[in-house]
Amino acid sequence: MEAYLAVVVGAVFAGGFYLVMRRNLLRFVFGLILLSSGVNLLVFTVGRVSRGAPPIIPEGASAPVGEVANALPQALILTAIVIGFGLTVFAMVLLLRLYERLGTLRTDELQAHLASPRPVPGLPDEEAPA
């Protein structure tokens, strides 16, 4: 089971890195989302996968009896999902603002804009002295 999952993780990573290296920033963020799913799957896989053995301590005992599933990766993934969600949402809002401001999300066009910035009416480009 772990071997199959390892292949899946590899495929998801490959897709994620492909998207991250694209010129369009929106694809970059999609790539990050894919990567973070890949990482979560990876953490799940390295915890070793088993079936039908819930980590429940029987009544009267102080430790689980026999082999049980590893519950820790799921706790880690849950944390990572929440963090990944927050970061992705922030990145999306940042992209939206950038698009509103400059009208493009292609890195080469952004670079050209950086070389010769054109002012946007009504919005200050730099800080005014305090």
């Binding site: 991250v20 922030f90 990145a91 200050p124 480009d125």
Partner: protein, 506 residues
């Protein structure tokens, strides 16, 4: 005791929560924010005093002993870094009273500032690798908001690069943590130190490289630093100073911790690579700075260059080198942040960060010129300022291990740093006021000057009364190069004996 160890994290988080509730009441927020930062500084000082008298302090959360629960560990390095963070937090909080505009305050500057401080402290204190990741993310999200708050064009352009680089680094860090957990079955750093020697050397080194890249992006080492000079000059000066001083050093701290406690299986390879990286980081950063003509951009490139010196100390991997790296880091945080703050005051008078549009500040404001000289020449390593001693220790460590090429490079980079600082001095302070520019009649607000003077005094203290700082750096160097004490404090007597028996400790 345990409360003291948790306080540097809980205190700013509680403050942030309270500040959110007070949203809109600017005066109350400002008072609370500054007072809380000062209180945090006091707590950090007590923590360091406790660590200095009682040795390494440990807290296990939730009644689960290590390695099962999450531990917080305060050794000398962590305690010193928390104290430095407290000093920087207070200095920047005071400076921000006049530097951050009301718009940004309404958008939530104050809570985010304290979330950032909490994240940084958490990263310093945690003894658990996954927990380190969580603190990194917490400080990242706060830094994202602070960097882009205000929505200026250049902030968005710099912000997207900062966000992109750091999110990729976070993915790599989590991948590394996942694989490390798979290989050892533990996430507690002391327990990892115990179990990593059982992992095949090749696998351990591969994992080390993954962490090197992840921490390296956050620390802005060569060739992963491009995001730093693209973004650090864009937010208001107070935020730039905190970022330039503290944030990259959290990455350096992670490198120091990771490559002394965990990844020491193949020192010749990993630390040999670190030595190359250190050399290139120093040179590329300082050459980049030489090409810049904007006050804050010059400083941003110098952050990169100076990271090289710290990595150099780590690469030597001797007690002297490690202690030197920490001494350098602390000196650099004060001097670098101070230069950013001084750039802000220079703009208050001259109206610009462009060196071409600045001039005549020496005649106009001699005190500002003196403050600049202290910070700038300390950065360049002039005796007897703090930077001189910092460089001296790192270079002496280089002599000990006979790393002549790296020592030569670091001396050469010191000269180029002096060139950059002289460039700023000549353009902004010494040369006549450019035509069409009138310097604002002063004096600038005392709240802008106060933190600058305080940091300059610290720089002078580290230079003229360096003995206590050296003693501390020596102890940190000894602790880092022999982590038996760390393992003993977290896991107890038996584990420490196993650790020594496995032959990891020198």
């Amino acid at each position: 005791m345990s409360a003291l160890l948790v306080a540097p994290v809980v205190w700013p988080l509680a403050t942030a929560a309270l500040l959110v509730l007070l949203q809109g009441r600017l005066t109350t927020q400002r008072t609370l924010s500054t007072a809380s930062a000062a209180a945090q500084l006091a707590l950090a000082a007590i923590l360091l005093a406790q660590v200095a008298t009682q040795g390494i302090l440990v807290v296990q959360f939730g009644g689960w002993d290590a390695p099962f629960g999450i531990s917080f560990v305060a050794d000398h390095l962590a305690a010193v870094m928390v104290l430095v963070n407290g000093i920087m937090g207070t200095a920047v909080a005071v400076y921000a009273l006049r530097d951050i505009d009301a718009d940004r305050e309404r958008l939530g500057y104050h809570p985010m500032f304290h979330v950032l401080l909490a994240g940084v402290n958490g990263a310093f204190l945690t003894g658990d690798l996954f927990n380190l990741y969580v603190w990194f993310e917490l400080l990242l999200i706060a830094s994202f908001v602070l960097l882009t708050l205000g929505n200026r064009r250049e902030q968005l352009e710099g912000g997207i690069k900062y966000v992109a680089a750091n999110l990729v680094a976070s993915m790599l860090l989590l991948t590394g943590i996942g694989l490390l957990y798979g290989a050892t079955g533990t996430l507690n750093m002391a327990d990892l130190a115990l179990k990593l020697p059982l992992v095949p050397v090749g696998l351990a080194t591969t994992l080390a490289m993954l962490f090197l890249v992840a921490f390296g992006i956050k620390a802005a080492i060569f060739p992963l630093f491009f995001w730093l000079p693209a973004s650090y000059h864009t937010p208001p000066v107070a935020i730039s100073a905190l970022f330039g001083g503290m944030l990259t050093k959290v990455g350096v701290y992670a490198l120091l911790r990771g490559f002394t406690l965990l990844f020491v299986a193949d020192v010749a390879l990993t630390h040999g690579l670190l030595a190359w990286i250190a050399g290139f980081t120093m040179v590329v950063g300082v050459l980049g700075a030489a090409a810049q003509t904007e006050f804050r951009k010059i400083l941003s490139f110098h952050i990169v260059s100076q990271i090289g010196y710290m990595v150099m100390g780590l690469a030597f991997f001797t007690p002297l080198g490690l202690g030197g790296a920490v001494f350098y880091m602390v000196h650099n945080i004060f001097a670098k942040a101070n230069l950013f703050l001084i750039a802000g005051i220079a703009r208050w008078y001259g109206g610009s960060f462009e060196l071409k549009k600045l001039g005549g500040l020496y005649r106009h404001r001699p005190l500002l010129a003196v403050l600049f000289v202290i910070a700038a020449f300390s950065l360049a390593g002039f005796p007897p300022l703090s930077g001189f001693w910092a460089k001296l220790v790192v270079i002496r460590a280089g002599f000990e291990v006979q790393a002549w090429p790296l020592v030569a490079v670091s001396l050469f980079v010191g000269l180029l740093t002096l060139y950059s600082m002289t460039k700023i001095w000549l353009a902004a302070f010494w040369s006549p006021v450019p035509e069409g520019v009138t310097l604002r009649a002063g004096p600038a607000p005392a709240l802008l000057y106060a933190p600058v003077v305080a940091l300059a005094l610290l720089t002078l203290a580290m230079g003229f009364a360096s003995a206590p700082f050296f003693v501390l750096a020596e102890r940190i160097g000894a602790e880092l190069s022999d982590p038996t004490g760390y393992v003993h404090a977290v896991l107890g007597e038996a584990a420490a004996a196993t650790f020594v028996a496995r032959g990891v400790a020198p």
